[in-house]
């Protein structure tokens, strides 16, 4: 079976597993569940698995997608349960299916975030955050392959909303997933650079849904 796609959650302690380590972890889990991954040909064969949008260390997700190939036909209904049973704490497979859509069609991500404010008023912060992100452009200094560069992150934010919570402001946003890719961490980084008074004491993010260019759910 060549065009298989896995949808899984990566939360809790598993958010600290890096992208490369996750590939290894997945490969081992497939072996434990006795699914035979298809290997590449050549001098140094490796299993053909690929995660659509690598997730930063520390970020959680309820909508990770991974493509893979198996040597034999298997029951796709049973696969999520069987694989989850042999995965580390925090990784839960929610779906497995033959993929219909190309990776390039994945365009937007819905994310949720928590900006923690230890001793500032969340309601006041939420208001100021709305104002800050309403600006026509948000140009920040970003680390690139060739040192540092300036980039406007605003076009990559399709929508963003803030709600005051207990010692924190929660956010929900739709951001560009590819071309350009926006690392949600840059939302907090923008504050550190442009509005230090609004910078949270800690920020964390969770991916919750994937969409195509027309904002239809992408699978």
């Amino acid at each position: 079976m060549d065009k298989l796609r896995l949808r899984f959650e990566k939360t809790g302690r598993a958010v600290y597993i890096s992208h490369l380590d996750l590939m290894q972890t997945m490969q081992r889990a497939f072996a434990r569940a006795e699914y035979d991954l298809k290997y590449s040909e050549g001098f140094n064969p490796h299993p053909q698995i690929s995660i659509l949008l690598p997730l930063s260390v520390g970020a959680a997700s309820r909508c990770e997608l991974m493509d893979f190939k198996l040597k034999t036909d298997v029951d796709l209904q049973e696969l999520p349960r069987r694989l989850t049973a042999v995965l580390p704490e925090g990784i839960v497979v929610t779906d497995c299916y033959e993929s219909q859509r190309k990776v390039a069609q994945l365009k937007y991500l819905r994310i949720q975030g928590v900006f923690e404010y230890d001793d500032r008023d969340p309601a006041a912060m939420a208001g100021e955050l709305r104002n800050f992100f309403a600006a026509p452009e948000i140009v920040i200094t970003k680390k690139t392959k060739r040192g540092f560069g300036e980039a406007d992150i605003k076009p990559a934010i399709r929508e963003i909303a803030f709600t005051a919570a207990d010692q924190a402001v929660t956010l929900e946003a739709v951001i560009s997933a590819q071309e350009p890719t926006l690392n949600p961490e840059l939302l907090a980084e923008a504050l550190r650079q442009k509005a230090p008074a609004l910078a949270p004491d800690f920020a964390k993010f969770t991916r919750v849904e994937t969409y195509d260019a027309d904002m239809e759910i992408y699978r």
Binding site: G12, Y16, I17, S18, T25, R28, F30, A31, R32, D201
Partner: protein, 611 residues
């Protein structure tokens, strides 16, 4: 997860090593257990999770239903600083609970350079460093591992030591602790009772007196503690508990693979080798047992590599049968099989071809000495002919990468022996030219030397270590003798070796030095990133102790040695005899040719040594 920890983790390197949550970790209900045990490894996660002993004992101790044993490792420098800044105490990976909630801390100490890290972990756990400053029974702090065969330098920090193999002994100890906790014993009462468990050494029950020259005068057991603590072993190794569902790390560790332990002990008796003596008698597993355990482990972990471990793998009697059995499972699944610790004298073409079927790596040979005379003196029964014969097979089979390991500073070593190392490398190069199946790929020969460290319970336990300056002179002599372009020479620094030599044969007075080094920031000193020779030199000076007295002094054969209350099986008379054989440059036959009656077999209580 602790909020402080959550904020730290994104800032440190490889945070997955600080979170737990791996596949096959053991989670228990804290309310349902009586003894919470922190199994502390005084080095990083990557090293500790590669340690087979740690894996075995984690499972045997957790097999007790009243115990929950969790893992604790030492944080790397960046994490250490963040934890200190945030006021976050050391915690166990499974529950995330800080160590003040634990009933016992068990340290696995395999290496003397970990001593300062042991102290650091006690401190990070919020505990006083010295046993006498922890008046209560709980938490009990104990240690085991190969460094415990001379526990004296850290004796004052530990409540007790477990000497030898812990599979059975640890559980007897924890059962006694369980009873003591329920019945409210004092620490002293518990220690006196614990000292009756065979293999348990309670330092506070031994009074040590010194002579005016600094050597030991007497060791007196108190309160009925045994005069000699005899090392514990697993009598039936084939049936010894072995975890076939080990924890699978979610991040890269040093040895990321299934480990199969073929046998314990060694038939060879190399005179410099501590492991070859302290792990005797020889006990092997049946090949059927190993194949079954190996396949189960591979199924339960999903690992892509399996390694056959022992002190000298080619001395396993059923190696071909075992390799065939494992390869039958591994080949079709692209699982790699590797065999470290092969010897140059009995490495076979057949075996090599078997391994080649899956994956080909470099060849490493521990030659140890540069001349036949020296190799005879240290009882390293490898001839130049053996080595060249093996290399010829390997080069013809397509190998083109050979590493040769030597020690400098072995007893009786001369400059001639050192120059002999360079000559041997030339011979290997010549051998490659004559036998290589594909010369276009070139050849790489690497010579590595380390500085010989005399170790307790080995025939060389009385020997002096050469000075750091003399080691460097010998390094330079060898370096200037190497002329061939394809031969690379790496040498280990001597400074760590000097400190290791002092600690490995140290006495209780060294506890002050270790504490002083720790106070000045010493931790994770097995890593060159963190080791400071000067810090040790200063600490010795501050404590009024002489580093040379410990490292480079030859011990008198009649001298009472700090570790003389520990009986590892091999008799002192045998060690002395072997030392004399060294000075006569005389070989002793290996155990398979002729039993030397070393004494270790008596630990088997009538069972048979597989030597």
């Amino acid at each position: 997860m602790d909020k402080r920890l959550e904020r730290i983790l994104p800032r440190v390197q490889k945070p997955a090593r600080y979170t737990g949550g791996e596949y096959n970790q053991i989670i228990k209900d804290k309310a349902a257990v009586d003894i919470r045990l922190a199994f502390c490894f005084p080095d990083t996660y990557e090293i500790g999770m590669s340690n087979l002993g740690m894996s075995i004992l984690y499972h045997t101790m957790n097999s007790l239903d009243f115990v929950w044993c969790e893992r604790v490792f030492a944080p790397w420098g960046d994490m250490y600083e963040e934890m200190n800044k945030a006021g976050l105490p050391l915690y166990a990976l499974e529950s995330g609970d800080s160590l003040d909630q634990f009933d016992a801390l068990a340290f696995s100490v395999g290496y003397e350079m970990a001593y300062t890290t042991v102290l650091d972990m006690l401190h990070m756990a919020g505990l006083p460093l010295r046993s006498k400053d922890r008046p209560n029974l709980l938490p009990l702090v104990f240690a085991g591992g190969s460094a415990a065969v001379n526990a004296e330098p850290v004796a004052d920090f530990m409540d007790l030591f477990v000497i030898g193999e812990g599979e059975e002994m640890n559980n007897e100890l924890l059962t006694l602790l369980h009873q003591a906790k329920q019945e409210g014993w004092t620490k002293r009462d518990f220690l006196i009772r614990a000292a009756r468990i065979p293999g348990v050494y309670v330092p506070s029950l031994y009074d040590v007196q010194y002579k005016s020259d600094g050597t030991l005068d007497s060791i007196t057991p108190l309160e009925g503690a045994p005069e000699k603590v005899t090392k514990r072993i697993v009598l039936d190794f084939d049936k010894a508990p072995f975890p076939t569902s080990p924890i699978v790390p979610s991040t890269e560790v040093v040895h990321d693979r299934v480990n199969l332990e073929l046998f314990r002990g060694c038939v060879r008796g190399c005179r410099f080798c501590q492991a070859g003596h302290i792990y005797r008698p020889i006990r092997a597993k049946k090949p059927e047992t190993l194949i079954q355990q190996g396949i189960e482990c591979l199924k339960n972990t999903g690992h892509q590599d399996v390694t056959l471990l022992s002190l000298s793998t080619s001395d396993y009697r059923h190696l071909n049968q075992l390799c065939d059995g494992m390869l039958e499972y591994c080949e079709s699944r692209s699982i790699g099989l590797s065999l470290p610790s092969l010897r140059a004298d009995n490495f076979s073409m057949e075996l090599m071809e078997k391994l080649q079927k899956v994956r080909k790596s470099g060849l490493t040979f521990a030659v140890e000495g540069g001349s036949q005379r020296l190799r005879d003196a240290i009882n390293k029964n490898v001839t130049e002919e053996d080595l060249l014969h093996t290399c010829a097979i390997a080069f013809a089979g397509g190998w083109n990468n050979v590493k040769l390991y030597y020690m400098l500073g072995l007893p009786t070593e001369t400059d001639e022996d050192i120059v002999g190392i360079a000559e041997m490398a030339n011979q290997v190069l010549h051998c490659w030219r004559q036998n290589a199946s594909n010369k276009n790929r070139g050849v790489k020969i690497t010579i590595s030397t380390s500085c010989f460290i005399p170790k307790p319970h080995s025939p060389f336990q009385w020997e002096a270590q050469i000075s750091k300056e003399e080691y460097l002179r010998r390094v330079e002599l060898l370096r200037s003798s190497i002329t061939a372009r394809n031969v690379t020479y790496n040498w280990h620094d001597a400074e760590t070796s000097v400190i290791e030599a002092a600690l490995s044969r140290g006495d209780r007075k060294l506890s002050d030095v270790i504490e002083e080094v720790w106070k000045n920031g010493g931790r994770l000193e097995a890593w060159s990133d963190y080791f400071s020779y000067q810090r040790w030199v200063d600490a010795f000076a501050k404590c009024g102790l002489d580093l040379d007295f410990y490292a480079s002094r030859e011990r008198g054969e009649e001298e009472l040695l700090p570790w003389d209350m520990i009986d590892v099986g091999v008799r002192k008379a045998h060690l002395l005899h072997e030392r004399q054989q060294c000075y006569a440059s005389a070989l002793s036959p290996d155990c398979r040719k002729q039993c030397s009656a070393c004494g270790a077999a008596r630990l088997l209580k009538g069972g048979k040594c597989d030597g």
